[in-house]
């Protein structure tokens, strides 16, 4: 600040004031930059500590585990020796999420198209609003609705699927009992992620440039052909990222699964049979009875869930990045 050049000395008072201002500005700038950069760094620290702490506590449990962490079909960390493994949880989590995606993504794309291209205009705007609101309904509400309303409703469907599609093996119901199965969990998860997938897909479909759609129309395309030629190609990456968002939620969903599933530590391809488990559901179910070691074992399973969601998110991000390069030119 102590400038010795004669040039900016002459009119003394205003310059002096200005200097004072700019030096306080400089301090202010430094403080402000420090604060905001600090927040960014704090975020990185949090992420790093999540990974470190979970891994550390998980290693405490796994080193004492008498079974194989990945292949054991049991969860008994309180036993002597302790035995626990995530095979059943991994299977249940993946299967229920796949069912959820298989139902939710096509239906969500359908609803998104309905709102963006098919619904009467007076219906479309309020409908979009309602879908956005539904995306905010807490999962525990889906959970009790699933357990108290959906499960009894699906029993008839289960019997019917067993009767006509039992030959497919996966729809063969070999155990009697209520519909507290992985299949039901998949349906509930599908209903849960439907609003968010719909909402994101609709946004993307609405962004399709009008002139792309008119190009198809002017060639004599029907409404469906307009969608096939210009809307779907444009919206594909958006739909993929919306689906990944939904998948991330389905993988980590705790309460809706914990309320609906009747858990058991078996892997069965008969999806209509009650039983099975998911990472999050198992943590919720086993937490109350677990001692410190048991909690570490649960943390170990949580770590696997964490890695799983990281992989899904990473894949989504890569897909989006690649599509951007390809389709940006004329948009």
């Amino acid at each position: 600040m102590a400038s010795t050049t004669p040039i900016d000395s002459p009119p003394a008072p205003p310059v002096a004031r200005k200097r004072a201002g700019s030096s306080s500005g400089r301090v202010g700038d430094k403080v402000f930059l420090g604060l905001s950069r600090g927040s960014g760094i704090l975020l990185l620290v949090i992420m790093a500590s999540i990974a470190v702490f979970l891994t550390y506590r998980a290693s405490l449990a796994i080193s004492e585990n008498d079974g194989n962490f990945f292949t054991t079909f049991d969860w008994n960390p309180a036993g002597d020796p302790p035995v626990f493994g995530i095979a059943v949880l991994l299977f249940g989590t993946v299967v229920s999420s796949i069912i959820a995606m298989a139902i939710a993504v096509p239906v969500a794309v359908g609803i998104a198209l309905f709102i963006s291209h098919y619904a009467p205009r007076k219906l479309a705007a309020p409908l979009a609003y309602v879908v956005d609101l539904l995306a905010a309904v807490p999962s525990i509400v889906y959970g009790i609705w699933g357990a108290l309303v959906l499960v009894p409703y699906l029993e008839g469907l289960n019997l019917w699927l067993d009767q006509f599609f039992g030959w497919t093996y996966i729809f063969e119901k070999t155990e009697v009992g209520v519909a507290r199965s992985l299949f039901t969990v998949g349906i509930l998860l599908a209903i849960m992620i439907l609003p968010i997938v719909t909402s994101v897909s609709r946004e993307v479909f609405l962004q399709v440039p009008k002139m792309n759609e008119e190009a198809a129309l002017a060639l004599g395309a029907t409404r469906w052909e307009v969608i096939r030629l210009s809307v779907l190609p444009f919206g594909r990456s958006g739909v993929i990222s919306a689906s990944m968002l939904g998948l991330g939620r389905a993988l980590g969903e705790t309460m809706a699964v914990a309320t609906v599933l009747s858990p058991s530590f078996i892997i069965s391809g008969h999806l209509l049979n009650p039983g099975g488990g998911t990472f999050a559901q198992n943590i919720a179910a086993k937490f109350d009875e677990a001692n410190e070691f048991g909690r570490d074992a649960l943390i170990a399973s949580g770590l696997v869930l964490f890695v799983l969601t990281l992989l899904v998110n990473g894949a989504a991000r890569m897909i989006i990045a690649r599509r951007k390069e390809y389709s940006g030119a004329n948009a």
């Binding site: 190009a215 129309l217 002017a218 060639l219 004599g220 395309a221 030629l229 190609p233 390809y326």
Partner: protein, 258 residues
Amino acid sequence: MAKRIDVSGLSAYYGSHLAIEDISMTVEPRSVTAFIGPSGCGKSTFLRTLNRMHEVTPGGRVEGKVLLDDENLYGANVDPVTVRRTVGMVFQRPNPFPTMSIFDNVAAGLKLNGSYKKSQLPEIVEKSLRGANLWNEVKDRLNKPGSGLSGGQQQRLCIARAIAVEPDVLLMDEPCSALDPISTLAIEDLIGELKERFTIVIVTHNMQQAARVSDRTAFFNLAAVGKPGKLVEIDDTERIFSNPSVQATEDYISGRFG
């Protein structure tokens, strides 16, 4: 192929707003008819009523008759999809399908209709691209995305796409307004060639362009902002630009307004 268009008593609305009122005219086959007039006079809206694209706009509707060789486009059992298949259109800004290759862009219309032989496709695509004076520039990169071409090339690609389905009429909505002068010249030359085969209607802001490319010119005007646009007169281009019968046309041509 080229067909005559007979419009009688046509009005178009956006919701309750009357955009163009009571227009009647005849467009001769195998000729270029240019629509000129100040901004907002409804010439583009009128053009879009000729292939039922107007009703795609929310709230858009049309009253009156448009006969394409004696068949009313707005008749009871007429399918707008068939109409647009028969009356092709080129837009203000070039709009190739961004995710498709050049080849697929040209073939898009044919593939929609389904009844083509796969072996014929390359031949039709080449013929259309030649027809649009684009073949020599793109023949080595037919599988590259159409969005990689320059603006003028993209517009000619859109023309190739439109003529590949052999329409009866080709509508052009200010096809050169987004292009540089050299590309504009290329498109104007192309229009001169295409009129041997098609009935062409072109909307343009540029009066010199209308004078250069068209056989007949229609002048549209509106009484005031918010009032509906009307057809003032339609005549041979030469007469419109030398000796129009209405004073407003002469004022507009000579640059006194608009």
